[in-house]
């Protein structure tokens, strides 16, 4: 591959270009809109796969980095510092994209889930042009979040995902869609506000940098992630530059807590999950595929990227608390999933439970646990995407997803039911499917430091079997109600993503090295930091 291809920009911007192109289409060409959306999504995925093929974990992602000055706001404060040789004093945000072992798996996940969601949107009939345009816009946001290397850019991409989601829920959702969309926006808006505050604190402290040039010193506050990391490893950097807030313990803790809340809403961590239930239940299934499959992982990614790498001491100190939250998530979600009567809500609570395992992996503070957290994120993304693909397919045919009304579908829809069963088995952590690997790694990692939380987490896996079987068997097994006797089996465009996702789940379950090899050096910086702490 030629080295000068801005591959990351391609990945991020192709969906945006697609969205713009869709706007030019006439309104009634819904089919064309669908096809072109799929093509653009696929194109982006193609670049992501290319990146995957080309990426060498040992060298990291330095060669893909792209950077351009984007926003530079003069602060006009240099007058007082002129005598110290300061010629410019500004606030700068860059268009700065980068990739590493942590973001690449999630980028691939985004591509895969987006394509499957686009394919799985066959039953969306209303205002297709707008739907697909929003879907593409959403993709740009997601890719951007995972690839941005600048706090400001990250924030903008993060926000960019809210808008399409809001409309996708609010326009194409079920009966309670408006309320769900509002709730979504309120929670995530609050989260964003908190995140912005945390980022501003970060920019004002870690983001400060003094550049000596021929003309004099240029003082910059920037959201540049590399600068933050550099400042972090060199505690005197900010102090030497002068003028910046010092990043002391209290401030670090407040930033950490703010980040935990901000990303905790997205993950979602226990008391902050109310919004996602509604989204799961009300949004159209393909959108939930993306929501449960990718958007929740943005929270995980944010936690690792900002709370983890920038505040390792705080992460270390808060590990027991995170583990406790993880355990609560796992058990709380699982127990509630056991009593739901609506399949989508079962899946919603199951997501909470599974994301708890991610938290457990993070709390382990070990490489294997981190890898488990990331693997679990990807795997849960694929599994929940598959489950909601099936939900969409069932909902279109039966008109309901209530467990009490369904039954025996394995007779009339053997293929779909088989996929549902496989997805369910993957969700309950069956070895040979991807769900198991993530859970295993997270547990292996956590067990070394915290034994009882792990045992409680394992208990959650048992409950997973209970709620998955309870709901899946209620749908697929048992006597078939007469009104469902004549249902038509999934059409090709539905079956294709189902098979593809199942294949991915099996592939990752059987040969997880495909993904874990990527992460090999991804956590190196964080682990080094944690180790020096442990040593000193």
């Amino acid at each position: 591959m030629p080295d000068n291809v801005p591959i990351l920009s391609f990945i991020v911007l192709i969906p945006l270009a697609g969205a713009l192109m869709l706007l030019l289409l006439p309104k009634d060409r819904g089919r064309l809109a669908r096809i072109s959306a799929i093509v653009f999504t696929g194109l982006s995925l193609l670049f992501a796969v290319w990146l995957y093929a080309d990426y060498q974990p040992a060298f990291g992602g330095a060669k893909y980095e792209e950077r351009a000055a984007w926003l530079s706001i003069p602060l006009n404060l240099e007058a007082g510092l002129r005598d110290q040789g300061v010629v410019s004093y500004r606030l700068a945000f860059d268009y700065h994209l980068g990739v590493d072992g942590i973001s690449l798996p999630l980028v691939l996940l985004t591509g895969a889930v987006s394509l499957m969601a686009a394919l799985g949107s066959v039953h969306i009939r209303k205002r297709r042009k707008a739907y697909y345009a929003l879907l593409l816009l959403l993709q740009t946001g997601m890719y951007g979040v995972f690839l941005a290397r600048d706090a400001g850019l990250f924030f903008i991409f993060f926000e960019l995902t809210l808008i399409p989601m809001f409309f996708l829920i609010g326009i194409w959702g079920d009966y309670g869609r408006e309320k769900a969309a509002n709730r979504f926006l309120v929670y995530n808006g609050l989260g964003s506000a908190v995140m912005l505050l945390a980022f501003l604190l970060l920019v004002a402290t870690l983001g400060f940098r003094a550049d000596e040039t021929a003309d004099g010193t240029i003082l910059t506050y920037s959201g540049n992630y590399d600068v933050m990391l550099a400042n972090l490893s060199d505690p005197n950097a900010a102090a030497n530059a002068g003028g910046a807030l010092s990043f002391t313990g209290g401030l670090k803790w407040s930033v950490f807590v703010l980040l935990l809340v901000a990303f905790g809403i997205k993950v979602p961590i226990f008391p902050l999950h109310a919004w996602m239930l509604r989204v799961h239940a009300e949004a159209p299934p393909p959108v939930v595929m993306i929501h449960a499959g990718v958007l929740l992982k943005m929270g995980v990614y944010g936690l690792i990227r900002f709370a983890g790498f920038l505040l390792p001491a705080q992460l270390e100190a808060a590990a027991p608390a995170i583990a406790a939250l993880g355990v609560i998530n796992v058990l709380y979600g699982a127990i509630l999933a056991c009593v739901q009567k609506e399949f989508k809500l079962v899946l919603a609570y199951s997501s909470i439970s599974h994301m708890g395992i991610v938290l457990l992996g993070l709390a382990s503070l070990s490489e294997i646990g981190f890898a488990g957290a990331l693997f679990q994120s990807v795997s849960h993304g694929l599994i929940s995407a598959l489950l909601f693909l099936v939900v969409g397919s069932l909902q279109e045919r039966t008109g309901t997803t209530r467990l009490t009304e369904l039954g025996g579908l394995a007779r009339s829809l053997p293929f779909t039911s088989g996929i549902l069963l496989t997805a369910g088995l993957a969700a309950l952590g069956l070895p040979g499917l991807s769900g198991f690997v993530g859970e295993l790694l997270a547990f292996l990692g956590l067990f070394a430091t915290m034994r009882w939380p792990t045992v409680l987490g394992v208990l959650g896996v048992l409950l997973a079997a209970v709620y998955v079987l309870r709901s899946v068997l209620a749908i697929a097994y048992g006597p078939l109600p007469a009104r469902f006797a004549g249902l038509k089996e999934a059409r090709f465009t539905e079956a294709l993503p189902m098979v593809a996702l199942t294949g991915l789940i099996v592939l990752l379950g059987v040969y997880p090295s495909l993904l874990t090899d990527l992460m090999e050096h991804g956590f190196a910086g964080l682990l080094r930091e944690l180790q020096t702490r442990a040593g000193g």
Binding site: Y187, Y332, E367, I368, G408, G432, S513
Partner: protein
Amino acid sequence: MRTVFSQYAWLAPLFPLAAFVVLTELNRSLKRTGAFIAIVASLASLALSLLIAFERIGTGAEDYSGGFAWLTIGSVTLSAGFEVTNLTALMLVIVSLVAFLVNLYSLGYMRDDERKSVFYAYLSLFACSMLGLVLADNLLLLYIGWELVGVCSFLLIGFWFHKPEARAAAKKAFIVTRVGDLGLLIAILLLFRYMPGHALDFVSLHNVFDSQAGVISTSITTAIALLLFLGAVGKSGQFPLHVWLPDAMEGPTPVSALIHAATMVAAGVFLVARTYDIFEASAVALDTVAYIGAFTALLAATAALKQNDIKRVLAYSTVSQLGYMMLALGSGSWTAAVFHLFTHAFFKALLFLGAGNVIHALHTQDLRQMGGLGRRMKTTAWTFGAGVLALSGVPPLAGFWSKDAVLAAAFERHPLLFAAGIVTACFTALYMARLFILAFWGRPRGDAALAARAKEAPAVMTAPLLVLAALSVAAGFVQTPFGSWLGAWLSGEAIPEQAESVPVMAASAAAGLLGLYLGWLLYGKGAPKGGGAGQTRPWPWLVRLIEREYYLNEAYGYLFVKPLQGLGRALRLFDGAVVGGAGRLAAGAVQALGRLNSRLLSGQLQTYGLAAVIAAVVLMLAIAGRRF
């Protein structure tokens, strides 16, 4: 001695896997040939297993292992590999042989089922996982196989998915065994934590626990052993997790023969045998295994006495016999356990397949509807009879020798264990006699027309019976108190002749014969003509207790299911009221803010104007004020 075929042992699970893949991919187009693909695959596995086993017969065959790194994270490598020892070779033969026979048998049994190819796909997947479990060279891989056989069991129990009972049974089987699986998983976590170099393979386990005592503290060892045993308890249907196995009889009968009698349920025994070094390092764990095993054996044997479903009787019998194996393991003789596993696989598979023939002929599983089949189904009756005698421990059939080995071990361990074993042996013979008499003797009690049409099953279904019957009769001679060839082969150590076991043998044989005699007395000779064998009996509460299987299902319902549901409901209220309430509060606050705003933004232009003027004045004042 160099081994040739052992190097290719990894192929054994791949044949059925290939069959599974082909069958699932080409499901629709393989309506007829699907079964043959599966049978050929299982035959290939069988051939390979036999080659491996025969190659290893003789002394000094080295264990062979090979593998690759499955997952590397940082300094930790989880590997996947296989290991061939004499134990695994034996297990390979048992599994692939029974699997092949059952595959063959199902050709007849499932002939008219429209989802036959799905059935064969599941069977193949099961064979693959089970062989993988057996061959695994480390605990993690074993766990993977362990879970996969559990899923296959689940799928096959629920094969007739439209029956609500099958659905419930499948769910129950999966969840109850999962409880045990978690024990195994936690044991693996513990081992991963405490083993030097995070090693999980059996060779390292053997080295650490056998020779390097003190590397891992006793309490941890005990914990690991107990957790491993919890896994075995779940899989092998030991008390208190045995409740799923009788219900699992909702699955097709060949499945019961393969999975729930011969192979998968024995995996627990295999697990304990494979990690026996850990158990030997902890006396507490061994005692636990022994007493749980003995208790289960006794409990299940009594429960089998009053079951009316032919398969449930056999299921409880399986539970009971597995208890025997655990008893042997706990008594310190893992070779006896494996020996019993070996013989039990044959005669219990035989019994199930025979029962399958009966069910196939009569379309009922209720013993009260049967009777007099002996004349109509000669082959079935004779082979079944051989199985009954073998299971009852009548010398010199296979069951006698293996049971004797178990009892001898128990005798050395503790008289109480021995007593439990002897009583169980008596009960075993009793309920088997009852079963045989009710099914094959006397006159038909059920639908007369159906009984009249009942005829012997086709050859494809009787041939496996004959093979298994022959094995049930003869397989015991591989290890007798006078020449313990199998034990020596398995453990690699010469086992001295056990002269003191003659009284044990006598007691065991006497117990078996006594049980059979009692059975004949109660159900054969003394049976009332009406078939309702004795309405008034002593201790009606005890009978009821046994009939209801000791109310364990109800107890679990009240102990676990109800509280979980209650907790779930409580949490649902909490989630709706508190967490959701907080959400509503947040949303409400924002909306209230919005309403306040919209009241301000009333559309009154002049109000806006006034606000602008006020703001401008305030701004001016603020700017002007800064100068002072």
